[in-house]
């Protein structure tokens, strides 16, 4: 066990820190779910890309710098400690890119990865449907064979960033006779294609962060299938374990928030015992998450793959993040309810924004109830929940 970084890693930290200090905008950017905020965030992503810092772990030919996971951790720590903007391209970078790297053709990777990394093309996810939330295998949107490609029809919902995004990745049913996770195919779909209709859905913060996306016989050519017809489930699942267990939510984010919470508590001063203990708890949780990530990273480097235990991770960070922001609001007292538009708002309403966002954590990416079932059944080996009668044997 050796928790020190190498000289090369420390040098990378200094490089990242210096670049961020010189480049992070002095004023926070507007919400990335507003037209002007979306544009400003894409410009920021371009600057990151030009400095080869937008996707540090990717191979160089796709816009990365071939960095190690330890360097990725370092970059994320520095990024959030510097107060840098949220990542508008994160759906593509964290959810699609690993699948493209593993299952994509060389042509697909070259076509999609660099513009994703530079913010030129922003991706939306198309997992959820009105009838399929955490039950991803209940997808009903369909793809019908046509000359040279497929015609997509159906509806996706709760699609983050889709109101502004350029592309969508999602699962469609290519075998009409299939059930559950069989017969699904992973498609890459341009959102400006004829037959696509996008309707923004205002989230709790008032901005159209979600969208419904309707597909009416939308044509996509064969080369926009990722990983083979009927292989959609396998492609989607292969990366959820390893990536969600490690790179989806970096500890850097939570560490920065926890350190800001401690600063807030110090500034307010004279806290009661209960508040002090909650601040300590929030900070310890963020630190524990960081250590857990070190442990996971070490295991991955030793050759292990991350499976269903990524659900343990998801339950922990989502609840930690919510508790951290709840604690901040409690410290703020009467100022907690002020939005960023209020003259008296503390830190531009950042704690309230963070709280609203954290509320989504236990819901998205598979609700925490589903994650707990996965932990119980697939990590602990407890008996499966009774399934509907039609599926029992």
């Amino acid at each position: 066990m050796d928790l020190a970084y190498t000289p090369a890693e420390e040098a990378f930290r200094r490089e990242a820190r210096a670049w961020l200090a010189a480049n992070v905008p002095a004023e926070p950017l507007p919400s990335l779910d507003t037209p002007e905020g979306f544009a400003a965030h894409r410009e920021w992503e371009r600057r990151l890309y030009d400095a080869r810092l937008s996707v540090v772990t990717w191979p160089e030919e796709y816009g990365g710098r071939g960095a190690s996971l330890a360097e990725w951790l370092i970059f994320e720590e520095e990024y959030y400690l510097a107060g840098a903007p949220g990542r508008v391209g994160q759906n593509g970078i964290f959810l699609l890119a690993p699948s493209l790297l593993e299952f994509g053709t060389e042509e697909q990777r070259r076509r999609h990865l660099p513009p994703m990394a530079s913010g030129e093309e922003v991706w939306a996810q198309g997992w959820s449907e009105p009838e399929a939330g955490s039950d991803l295998a209940a997808v009903r949107s369909r793809a019908v064979r046509t000359d040279g490609g497929w015609l997509l029809s159906g509806q996706k919902t709760w699609s983050s960033r889709a109101a502004y995004a350029h592309w969508l990745f999602g699962l469609f049913r290519t075998d009409p006779e299939s059930a559950r996770h069989h017969g699904l195919t992973y498609f890459l779909v341009p959102l400006d294609a004829p037959g696509v209709t996008v309707r923004g859905i205002r989230q709790l913060d008032g901005e159209p962060g979600f969208a419904e996306v309707f597909f009416d016989e939308v044509f996509v050519p064969d080369d926009q299938v990722l990983g083979g017809v009927g292989e959609g489930w396998r492609v989607a699942m292969s990366t959820t374990g390893s990536e969600r267990g490690l790179t989806l939510r970096s500890p850097g984010r939570f560490m920065a928030a926890a350190d800001r919470l401690v600063s807030l508590a110090r500034r307010i001063g004279d806290l009661g015992e209960a508040e002090r203990l909650e601040v300590a708890r929030a900070w310890m949780n963020a630190d524990a998450y960081r250590l857990f990530t070190f442990q996971t990273l070490t295991r991955v480097r030793d050759g292990a793959t991350i499976g269903p235990e990524s659900s343990i991770n998801k339950v922990f960070w989502s609840e930690m993040d919510l508790h951290l922001h709840e604690t901040a609001l409690r410290l703020l007292g009467p100022r907690a309810e002020l939005t960023g538009a209020a003259p008296d708002a503390v830190a531009g309403g950042r704690w309230l924004d963070g709280f609203l966002f954290a509320l989504s954590g236990p819901i998205y990416g598979g609700t925490n109830e589903i994650q707990r079932n996965i932990i119980a059944e697939r990590v602990l080996g407890m008996p499966r929940e009774p399934r509907p009668a039609k599926e029992s044997q």
Binding site: M1, D2, L3, A4, Y5, T6, E9, A70, M255, D259, V262, A265, R266, L271, E273, R276, L277, V279, A280, R281, W283, M284, N285, D287, A288, Y289, R290, L291, F292, F294, Q295, L297, T298, R299, R301, D302, E309, I312, V315, F316, E369, Q371, R372, N373, I375, A376, E377, V379, L380, G381, M382, P383, R384, E385, P386
Partner: protein, 361 residues
Amino acid sequence: MRFGLTAEQRQFGTVAAELLAKPDTDRWAALTDLGVPAVLVPEEHGGLGGDEIDLLPVLEEAGRAALPDPLVESLVATRLLTALGGSLATEWLPQIASGESLVLFADGPYLPHADRAALILTERNGTLCTATPGAPQPSTDPARRLYSTTAITPVTAPSPNTTEPGTSRPPADAAPMTATAPGAAESGAFRPSAGGASGAADVRSLLVEARDRGAALTAVYLVGVARRMIDMAVEYTRERTQFGRPVGSFQAVKHHLANALVAVEFARPPAYRAAYSLARGSRTASRDASMAKAMASEAALQTARAALQVHGAIGYTLEYDLHHWLRRAWTLSTAWGTPTHHHRQVASLLLDSEEPLERLP
């Protein structure tokens, strides 16, 4: 940066686990034969010259096995004697290494396993003392074998011989984050001082460190205790049927154990890190130890509740083994400082300062 154990360290844990699982054996004798008490004893005193990290798997396996023996108390005493140096170290360390004598450090007024110990060290008002046991004070956990303290005798610190006057470190309460062995700050690693502790201030900081070490190592043990309770509960709920199905198939039962597992899996890295920080004399060792103990204690208490609940009435009896682990979780969650005590410690270190927050690495 590597947060994991070596193959040798894991192997040491595996062998210990096999010994601990053997029925009808003297498990402490078996661990002694394996060399566990000798790990922290320096080679010049007949020990193996290892550190806390080498012992992590053994401590966790001891928890899994609900080993009743005073492993943590013994390891804390060993480190303390090593840092003190002098005649105490010369006299006792070889006996610890060989398994001939049990030397314990006791935290608090009651002395666990005092009937077996050749020497009991403790702390009173910042002074290192030896303790003499009195009447038994039965614990809810019979394996703890507590005794009251009838007499304490201050131990005079060995006279300084290598440390220059004026170089001794400030009292622990003035700088709790630097409570490490003499010489540790300069080298960045724990090095038992060649000359031994040099004065009252050094001894006070060694005593703070001893309690931090007890908290940190108990945290590792508690992770093992909790993990075993989850395994027992999983096994039971797979077999036990109600309404025609295993009770483990019900979501309410599953979620109790899933929540317990989340708590335990996130308590382990802080416990390991605290042992690492103590072994290396890290500046954050005291905060790391408190964090580890707070999180492991809460994880163990939560797991104990969950395990008892999903076992139902059988878990509430002495006819079923779960009670050994329940009792160990309850008593060890308060030993070496309650969760609230350690939360307060962390809160104080984070909030009662203007210094920038330090995270190591």
